[in-house]
């Protein structure tokens, strides 16, 4: 279990306990947090689960796998701290993670 904080573009904050093994994307979708579309259901094929991770977390998260950076090319306004939330698998180490949801997914 890990506490994940989602900040929406319009400054709302949701802090949720997400079970280990779920993805950060699933944590948002299952809890009706707006702004993460996840059109492809976690298949790394849509880039509509794009989030910006807080700077202090950028280097603590598991590295991007092949394909994630390619998919981020297509995301809406990608930055250095961009990640696909469907590729972030929740584990105890992610406790306290803060992600910021972009203004749009496309």
């Amino acid at each position: 279990m890990a506490k994940i904080t989602y900040n929406t573009h319009d400054s709302k904050t949701y802090t949720i306990d997400v079970q280990n093994g779920l993805t950060v994307m699933e944590g948002a979708v299952q809890n009706d947090i707006p702004g993460i579309d996840a059109d492809c259901g976690g298949g790394m094929a849509c880039a509509t689960c794009h989030v910006y991770v807080n700077e202090e977390w950028k280097d603590k998260l598991p590295a991007k796998e092949d394909g994630e950076e390619d998919m981020l090319d297509m995301a809406f306004e990608p930055k250095q701290n961009s990640r696909l939330s469907c590729q972030l698998i929740v584990a105890d180490e992610l406790d306290g993670l803060i992600v910021n949801i972009p203004s749009k997914q496309a």
Binding site: C40, D70, M74
Partner: protein, 338 residues
């Protein structure tokens, strides 16, 4: 006006198999899809990836699955209208009047929405100002490359489309290629070619840049691009082309008076009918308790929706359940000789 027993929106795996089921029970149908090819997500998003959970098919790629489905309906000669989006569905007497953005009209008692997560549309540039120039000097696909001759063209993206067009257009235009990072995801041979042309000065390469703004009165005059370090560069250009792949947009489906929750359409699990009589939703786009977004679920849903269509298409006949192995009528429809 095209009359048909059922109109299917979407030529993904679900739409294709639903068409098979309709024809098998003796109904006519036509399919419309916004994409330029048949196969939905399987062909657009993962043609080369293997799928392992199609019943009785241990392994096949997205493209193979699509080709098999096309083969399975070949004998029926079903009209498939590609490059057309269904924009309007409205009631007219006892039928549904369906209109596409290419001006085609269908009249049918049954509309089956097999629209996945919506129609595939190009992803666009982020800055708002770009809308003003869209279809004029800011484009997301190329229909006629002659319009670029002798002009300056700024191409954005890092995949094959962006790279291929950069190479092609550099023959007759001044080309800027702009990408958000140093790595390109296009084919290595094209990447090498681009680097070669960049070295020779034929293509101006800007990496770690993204579009920040588009400027101009009526026509695009220049663009501002922003480096990762925050610095902004202004470059003069006649055109800006964005190649960021496709995105699924629910689009017009949202306007047809259906119960929609989280981009999906609510249905019952007997007929897969929506809150509108004669409009069904099957595959990824439908939503009911326990829904799984899998290809196999779409097949089942399509089979049931097809049976439901029979009632409205042939109000005076009774639907009889038959197996394909033993039914003469079905074999005739399939053109199978015994």
């Amino acid at each position: 006006m095209i009359k048909t027993d059922a109109l299917i929106i979407g030529a993904g795996p679900t739409g294709l198999f639903t068409a098979h089921q309709l024809k098998l029970i003796g109904l006519s149908c036509e399919i419309v899809d916004n994409l330029d090819k048949i196969g939905g997500q399987c062909i657009e998003l993962y043609p080369d990836k293997p799928i392992y959970d199609i019943p009785a098919v241990p392994e096949c790629t997205g493209e193979e699955l699509t080709n098999n489905l096309i083969n399975q309906i070949k004998a029926f000669n079903i009209p498939i209208h590609l490059n057309e989006r269904v924009d309007e569905v409205k009631k007219e007497n006892d039928s549904w009047l369906v209109k596409t953005n290419a001006g085609k009209n269908f009249s049918t008692p049954n509309v089956i929405i097999a629209g996945g997560v919506g129609s595939f549309e190009p992803r666009k540039f982020a800055p708002k100002e770009c809308e003003k120039f869209e279809n004029q000097s800011i484009l997301y696909s190329i229909k006629d490359k002659k319009i670029f001759e002798g002009k300056t063209v700024s191409i954005f993206g890092g995949g094959d489309s962006a790279l291929d067009w950069a190479v092609e257009l550099s023959k007759n235009s001044k080309v800027n290629l702009i990408h958000r990072r140093d790595d390109f995801r296009g084919a290595q041979s094209t990447v090498d070619k681009v680097n070669e042309l960049a070295k020779a000065g034929t293509i101006n390469l800007y990496t770690k840049y993204q579009l920040a703004n588009a400027n101009g009165k009526n026509n695009l005059e220049s663009i501002d691009i922003k480096h990762d370090d925050g610095k902004i560069k202004n470059i003069k250009t006649d055109f800006a082309l964005g190649f960021f792949g496709l995105i699924m947009q629910l689009g017009p489906i949202a306007n047809w008076g259906l119960n929609i929750d989280k981009k999906t359409v609510e249905v019952d699990t007997e007929k897969f009918e929506t809150n509108q009589k004669g409009i069904y939703a099957v595959g990824d786009i439908c939503n009911y308790p326990g829904k799984l977004k899998l290809i196999l679920s779409g097949f089942h849903e399509g089979a049931l929706a097809a049976r439901a269509c029979f009632k409205l298409a042939r109000p005076d006949e009774k639907y009889r359940f038959e197996f394909t192995t033993s039914s003469k009528a079905i074999k005739n429809r399939l053109g199978v000789k015994e």
